[in-house]
């Protein structure tokens, strides 16, 4: 079976140079390294948000063979700080019913879609941004510190949701500073330093 996501090479000038990452369906890889090690650069390059060169396949199809928007619908990147473009939460959701169905799972009240973006707490933003991405049904999730601003209960709810996604043939690359979280979710950990992968410590 072809791996879900396969990175043969991925290079951005002299900032980033990685290769040989294979992500199978149902697998989660933790990506760790000090701040500025290039973790976010790697995720941005994977979704083709910055100019980069490389060879990346999703289920055997090369990235350049599909439009950037089609690629990003299948490989979703959630930055540590989410962006919003309308005053209210609802217009950011492409599927209202789908979003409502996820609110309880994320420990958010049912009226959260009517909230104003400017009044959201960091943790609320983080969870609503995840809902917004999940209703597009991506195959691969690239998550940058998805539970950084969450309390323990919300954090546990998000982790449970991620485990459920993994059991349904999705795959995740997870940037986290929390070693215990990496342990709970990821099968293995990649370490980064100065834009390069340094070791692949199998769990």
């Amino acid at each position: 079976m072809a791996p879900l996501l396969q990175v043969v090479t991925l290079v951005r000038e002299d900032l980033l140079s990685v290769g040989d990452i294979t992500l199978r369906a149902g697998e989660c890889i933790a990506l760790r390294g000090a701040s500025g090690a290039g973790k976010s650069l790697l995720l941005r390059a994977l979704v083709d948000l910055d100019p980069n060169e490389g060879e990346v396949y999703l289920e055997g199809v090369e990235r350049q063979q599909m439009s950037a928007s089609a690629w990003r619908r299948k490989v979703a990147y959630l930055p540590a700080e989410s962006g919003w473009w309308a005053p209210q939460v609802l217009p950011h959701m492409s599927d209202k019913a789908g979003a409502e169905a996820l609110l309880a799972t994320m420990k958010l009240p049912p009226d959260a879609l009517a909230w104003h973006v400017s009044r959201l707490s960091t943790g609320e933003r983080q969870r609503l941004a995840m809902i917004r991405a999940l209703i597009e049904e991506p195959r691969v999730l690239l998550l940058d510190e998805p539970t950084a601003a969450l309390d323990q209960a919300a954090s546990a709810a998000v982790e449970a949701l991620l485990l459920d996604l993994l059991s349904r043939e999705r795959a995740i690359i997870l940037v986290t500073h929390d070693a215990a979280q990496a342990e709970r979710l990821a099968g293995r950990t990649l370490h980064m330093n100065k834009g390069r992968l340094t070791a692949d410590a199998a769990a």
Binding site: D48, A68, S69, R73, A76, S82, G83, W85, A133
Partner: protein, 266 residues
């Protein structure tokens, strides 16, 4: 037409005396603008006297090539003006090329149409009509383009996260930029919309006033003013839309990325 009452140099010096009185007043009040006031006045006087000589000569030649050359110089200066009014410019001179390019296309097209179909001087390129009309169209169009581009770039920088969030959810570059484009186009259109709405109520346009002073019948002058306003509105719309859209195209790329790296570092 009865023709304008000729002004003597004495008449002009009397009027200039008023201005000198104003300069003296600002000196007494220590406003600190006396120097720039006088320099600006001197510049204006010299520039206008010179352009009077140039226009007299140009009008007498009635040459297609000389008229075209004058038009080209005006375009280059206007393009430079757009560029210098930008807080942040594109790298590689793109702001100048896109600004001057869209300005040239929209203003030349509108002027050519007006000269050949509506005003119809003989020959159609008669500089007495072509040059002043071109100047008025160009001046307004360049203000619109400069404002539109400035607000587009400012908006893209402010909304960077929001635009990238849309791209990440699978929007293409035009969908993600739509709110910024609308905002930029509105700013570019604002001056012409405002001046159309205020014309005739708050202010009598300079061109119309000039024609009336020169002895033209007011209804005749109004008709000319309307024609000029329509030409300006048309050229400004095409120019603003063209410049804003091409700049938006330049700060994004085919893989639907926002390329703020194509802006010059401040």
């Amino acid at each position: 037409m009865t023709g304008a009452i000729p002004l003597s140099w004495l008449d002009l010096s009397l009027a200039a005396g008023l201005m000198l009185a104003a300069a003296l007043l600002s000196l007494l009040l220590q406003l600190g603008i006396t120097r720039s006031f006088l320099v600006a006045a001197a510049r204006m006087t010299i520039q206008l006297l010179l352009i009077g000589q140039v226009l007299t000569w140009l009008f007498a030649q009635r040459s297609l090539w000389l008229t075209l050359a004058a038009g080209c110089i005006m375009l280059l200066v206007a393009g430079y003006e757009i560029r210098s009014r930008q807080e942040r410019r594109l790298t590689g001179g793109w702001t100048y090329y896109l600004g001057t390019g869209t300005l040239t296309l929209s203003c030349s097209l509108v002027l050519f149409l007006a000269l050949t179909t509506q005003i119809g001087p003989d020959p159609w390129y008669d500089p007495r009509y072509a040059i002043p009309l071109f100047g008025m169209i160009l001046g307004n169009c360049l203000t619109g383009i400069a404002l539109g581009l400035n607000s587009l770039i400012a908006r893209l920088e402010d909304d960077r996260r929001g635009i990238e969030a849309q791209l990440l959810l699978g929007a293409n570059r035009w969908q993600a930029l739509r709110p910024s484009l609308r905002h930029a186009l509105r700013s570019g259109f604002m001056p012409i919309v405002n001046s159309m709405a205020a014309t005739g109520v708050v202010a009598l346009p300079g061109m119309m006033t000039g024609q009336i002073l020169a002895g033209a019948d007011p209804t005749e002058a109004v008709r000319y003013q309307l024609l000029v306003m329509f030409l300006i509105a048309g050229a400004t719309s095409f120019g603003v839309i063209g410049a804003v859209m091409t700049t938006a195209w330049r700060v994004t790329d085919r893989r639907d990325r926002l390329r703020l790296d194509r802006l010059r570092q401040q």
